[in-house]
């Protein structure tokens, strides 16, 4: 007999969360003393560390921009970070994509015009992965850049919103991302103050009218995340 999920409704999430509830968040800054700025961001079992270096000299020369420093991000999953299977170290097709989208999510808020012809480098390491790694990476990187003392228009916060069956849920974990009903994963990065979107990707399918609900859920989640990030940035100086 052919099983059909049509018409079935998701009544509870696997880990018992509400549909718009985020996993527990932890954040701190200044975790890498030798770096110019650094931060750790943990959401559920996903944990990212970001370190910022620079501005420093940029070669080969054709990469230089006279408008200001360029931003380069390096995303990397630690070999032990996955679900038991060793993650092959080194750059991959996937990490190259994430480097690019992280740069594009963060660059618009930064004012690097004081440093023409140089580069600012952000290294993002994932210690533990349980879905939503690019969002955790962006959150950590935004905090690290603010910690380093760069001029920023706003902090950047990111969250992945998804669809399981007909239900829109916030901050999927790995089990939900591979749900047998088929799920859609939409990582979104926003500037919490203005609500401008700096990253919007999608893996899966979604109906046009559901997008509105996704954005509404995202906005709510991002305000929560931004609060944690801002508190963490202040905490370093409140001892």
């Amino acid at each position: 007999m052919k099983r059909s999920w049509e018409g079935l409704k998701l009544i509870k999430r696997i880990d018992g969360r509400k549909f718009d509830e985020l996993r527990p968040i932890e954040a701190e800054t200044g975790v890498i003393p030798r770096a110019d700025g650094s931060a750790r961001f943990k959401i559920g079992n996903t944990e990212a560390i970001a370190a910022v270096y620079g501005p420093r000299g940029l070669y080969p020369k054709f990469l230089q921009s006279q408008e200001g420093a360029i931003l380069r991000c390096y995303y990397n999953m630690m070999s032990f970070s996955g679900s038991g299977e060793r993650v092959r170290p080194g750059p991959s097709r996937r990490s190259k994509e994430i480097n690019l989208i992280t740069e594009k999510a963060l660059f618009p808020v930064l004012d690097l015009s004081e440093f023409p012809g140089s580069t600012v480098e952000v290294y993002i390491e994932l210690l533990q992965t349980d879905a939503g790694t690019r969002c955790a990476g962006i959150n950590a990187a935004a905090m690290a850049l603010a910690d380093a003392g760069f001029q920023m228009r706003d902090i950047v916060s990111a969250v992945s919103i998804g669809r399981i069956g007909n239900q829109i849920v916030a901050d999927l974990n790995n089990e939900e991302e591979h749900h047998e009903q088929g799920s859609t994963d939409i990582p979104i990065a926003m500037l919490p103050r203005t609500g401008e979107i700096s990253l919007f990707q999608m893996d899966g399918f979604i109906k046009q009218n559901e997008i509105q609900e996704v954005l509404k859920t995202a906005k709510k989640a991002i305000i929560q995340i931004a609060k944690v990030q801002q508190e963490a940035l202040k905490l370093r100086y409140k001892k």
Partner: protein, 237 residues
């Protein structure tokens, strides 16, 4: 009338709204977005009259004309020394600004400053593309004798120097060390006695770490007294 979202002397982070309405003007570390004044750096709110600014707790050094900086001679060409002072571009000391003495054309430039020497120099020119010219002509500008170079956050330099040099002169007096602080965050410390020099270094690092705390001068004074007092007893034994 503008409505304040934060208090004076609060710590704020980028994207935090400081005040709404058009009554206040944003200065450094803040900007205006429609009818809001927003912070753009992690720092402490400072309100003076109608100006609202954020004094950063950490910043990336950006050279300004007139800054005194400490740097290392990284390269020498036929008519320039190139100094690495913690900025992406080297600062150039042209031959004519190399010394208050006359340097003849074609002289061996390594006779004055050689590779790896540390110098105190002043910025004379910052071009739009951030090409930086330095000079060695001026009071106190010279090649540095042996000592220690420590690198601190440039945002803390004003605190390390203190009001009219109060903090740095106290450290100098109490430890018998020579201390020069560059605006770029490099500090040169040189003393006759090893343990006193060490205390001076620790005192400077202490100021950097606690820069946002009030009444720091007394704390640093107590710290130096304690450290030096301890070493004196050791000597007697």
């Amino acid at each position: 009338m503008g409505e304040f979202k934060v208090n004076d002397k609060d710590i704020v982070v980028p994207g935090e709204v400081l005040v709404t309405g058009m009554d206040y003007l944003p200065a450094g570390g803040a900007f205006r977005d429609n009818d809001e004044v927003v912070a753009s750096q992690v720092g402490i709110v400072n309100l003076s009259g109608r100006l609202i600014k954020v004094v950063p707790l950490n910043w990336r050094y950006s050279p300004k004309r007139g800054d005194i900086v400490i740097g290392k001679v990284a390269d020498i060409s036929l008519s320039n020394w190139f100094v690495d002072f913690g900025y992406p571009n080297y600062g150039a000391i042209p031959l004519k600004d190399g010394s208050s003495d006359y340097i003849p054309r074609g002289a061996d430039l390594t006779q004055y400053y050689s590779h790896g020497d540390y110098v105190v120099a002043q910025i004379t020119k910052v071009s739009k593309s951030k090409q930086i010219d330095l000079t060695m002509k001026g009071p106190g500008l010279r090649k540095l004798s042996p000592g220690r170079i420590i690198n601190v956050n440039p945002a803390k330099i004003p605190r390390i120097i203190g009001k009219q040099g109060s903090m740095v002169s106290m450290i100098k007096q109490m430890t018998d060390c020579k201390v020069i602080a560059g605006q770029n965050g490099f500090i040169w410390i040189s003393g006759f006695e090893h343990n006193k020099e060490k205390v001076a270094v620790e005192a400077v690092i202490m100021v950097e770490k606690k820069a946002h705390i009030e009444g720091l001068t007394d704390q640093v004074k107590a710290f130096i007294e304690k450290e030096l007092g301890g070493t004196k007893i050791d000597k007697k034994n």
